[in-house]
């Protein structure tokens, strides 16, 4: 399976990363080489194997659904690139 320029642009768009036209070819070469190398996994027989999602060996813990933290908007907003009062500010989304 080989990625064409349109697919590269689509992936970049899904990933919300701006890709300039002159970058498409390089990305295409690099990503195709990585995916080509990954193809070796097709040799493995995985019939009847249950997928493993993670390294954790124990069941997830449950806790009461209560607020345990919060109430400090200044700390939360301290790193905001732009703010308006106690809110993050972004370019206008709704006209």
């Amino acid at each position: 399976m080989s990625l064409d320029p349109a697919t590269i642009r689509r992936i970049a768009s899904l990933a919300r990363i701006r890709v300039e036209e002159h970058e498409v070819e390089t990305l295409q070469t690099e990503l195709n080489s990585i995916l080509g190398w990954i193809e070796q996994l097709n040799e493995v027989n995985v019939d009847g194997v249950e997928p493993l999602t993670g390294g954790a060996r124990m069941a997830m813990k449950m806790r009461d659904d209560v607020v345990t933290d919060g109430g400090y908007p200044e700390k939360v907003l301290a790193n905001a690139p732009d703010r308006n009062g106690d809110f993050y500010a972004v370019p206008k989304v709704v006209e």
Binding site: S33, L41, N42, E50, L52, G55, P81, V90
Partner: protein
């Protein structure tokens, strides 16, 4: 008297207790070393000079009151992937350049609870994605070791925790934190002649550690001796309700485990780790390591981990997939870099294009692709199944042996610029370390010998899940037998 920067943590602990020197003396010695050598090595992105001295003074006060905890007054370096309250945390990325966390990661909070002094934040591959520290937005790190015949070549410290490894090797810190997702503690430990510990998945909390691949990220320590590594892990480890994958089980006395010996242990030799093209001296060192353990009373057993060769390719699906999801949070809205755009979407796209370096962009795009509709089953689901087979390999083998001995990396440290032409060539560095991350089992790299150029080579001990104690026991025996005393060319006071 030995220089303060040459002491091990065990020696420094004794010296502080006996009042041979103060915590301020010890911290100043390291800060002076950093001042002298960091402009060259670039091991630290941020040096927290005044905070370190405040912590050292507090340690002296505690010591004067007869209160000595596991790490009271011990100066450490913290990988710049651990959030530290009030101290800038960049993850080696431009996108987090302005980020100052208002909170402390659980692992660093544990170290502070035990009295540690933080000297600063160490350099790393951007978002811990790399094996050479060359992808950092804050410049490469120089390995303090030099080739005997070619002292001008600037070598990489390995990665991603390259700054931590270089700092501890050059005596700029007594120990350091790292994170290991595909080998990011053990490979730099091998390249820099250090002990690097990757504990079991869940042993150290991930809370407050900038996430790369959540099911694979393992915080752990760097140290110059196995015993120092055991002390550091003992402090860093422990259950944390804020990380739902954190193991709720007691933390054993790892330092005591170092003295257990290996008599009667069965040590497995996985045949699949004998790789084509691996330098003969690494194979010879491996054989030597097995002889050491045999002489100390262990039984050596050939074993097979049949899916080893698929570890890397599996990793390069699973890790980018998780990364593409984890790194979605860097959108220029709540923290970090923002690049303004015509509208919100344009703001996201410009911010992420400007903020992420080429390797991170590549991995996010691979991850996005393997998770996208129509390709999920062919790539991601298949990789998860092979991951299950890799875990089964380990489970089967550990029914018959107590630990495994392997090389840590397929080469010694390489020069800056080498292996840069092809991403896959760089990925191959982690061929022996990735399987333990995929399976979540504990592993330690120990400096065991030198190559023909005088560069350190590590051996790796891999153990059963949550049996770090046996791993420490075997590692301590390898360390004892190897008697590794070589020193890097560049070091504080050297």
């Amino acid at each position: 008297m030995t220089q303060l920067t040459d002491l091990t943590i065990v020696q420094a602990r004794d010296g502080l207790r006996e009042k041979d020197f103060s915590a301020v003396d010890l911290t100043l010695a390291h800060l002076n070393g950093i001042e002298a050598l960091n402009p060259r090595l670039n091991a630290f992105i941020t040096v927290s000079h005044s905070q370190a001295l405040d912590q050292a003074r507090a340690a002296d006060k505690a010591l004067a009151a007869g209160e000595q905890r596991a790490l009271t007054g011990i100066p450490l370096a913290i990988k710049d992937l651990f959030c530290t309250a009030g101290v800038r945390t960049t993850a080696g990325s431009k996108i987090l350049g302005p980020f100052v966390p208002p909170y402390e990661s659980s692992v660093t909070a544990n170290l502070l609870r035990d009295g540690a002094v933080f000297l600063g934040k160490t350099n790393l591959d951007e978002f811990a994605m790399g094996s050479s520290n060359m992808t950092s937005a804050y410049g490469p790190v120089e390995n303090p070791w030099k080739r005997r015949q070619d002292a001008n070549a600037v070598l990489v410290p390995g990665g991603s925790s390259g700054g931590s490894a270089a700092a501890v090797a050059a005596r700029l810190a007594m120990g350091a934190t790292g994170t290991d997702t595909g080998g990011s503690i053990r490979q730099p430990a091998s390249f820099c002649g250090l002990v690097g510990v990757k504990p079991s998945y869940g042993r150290c909390s991930r809370w407050g550690v900038v996430a790369f691949a959540s099911s694979l990220d393992h915080p752990g320590p760097f140290a110059r001796t196995v015993r120092d590594g055991a002390i550091l892990l003992g402090s860093m480890a422990g259950h944390d309700p804020k990380d739902s994958t954190s193991a709720d089980m007691p933390v054993p006395d790892y330092e005591a485990a170092c003295a257990r010996g290996v008599k009667g242990l069965r040590i497995g030799v996985p045949l699949e780790y004998r790789m084509d093209g691996m330098p003969g001296e690494i194979e010879a060192l491996w054989r030597q390591g097995l002889d050491w353990l045999r002489s100390a009373g262990a039984e050596i057993v050939d074993v097979s981990l049949p899916h080893t060769k698929y570890g890397l390719a599996t990793y390069y699906i699973v890790a980018p997939a998780e990364a593409s999801s984890n790194l979605a949070r860097y959108d220029g809205v709540r923290f970090g870099l923002r690049h303004d755009g015509e509208d919100l979407r344009d703001l996201y796209e410009r911010t992420r294009a400007e903020g992420f370096g080429p390797e991170v962009r590549r991995r996010i795009m691979i991850g996005t692709y393997v998770l996208s509709a129509g390709y999920y089953d062919a790539y991601y689901l298949r990789a998860q199944k092979i991951r299950a087979l890799i875990l089964k390999d380990f489970t089967d083998v550990f029914a018959n042996v107590d630990a495994l001995l392997t090389p840590t990396a397929p080469s010694a440290a390489f020069a800056q610029g080498e292996n840069m032409d092809d991403p896959i060539k760089m990925y191959l560095n982690d061929v022996f370390t990735v399987p333990a991350d995929l399976a979540g089992v504990p592993a330690i790299s120990i400096p065991a010998g030198l190559d023909v150029n005088g560069l350190p080579l590590g051996l790796q001990v891999i153990g059963k899940v949550f049996d770090e104690e046996t791993v420490f026991a075997v590692a301590a025996e390898v360390e004892r037998a190897a008697g590794f005393t070589a020193l890097p060319a560049i070091r504080a006071g050297g």
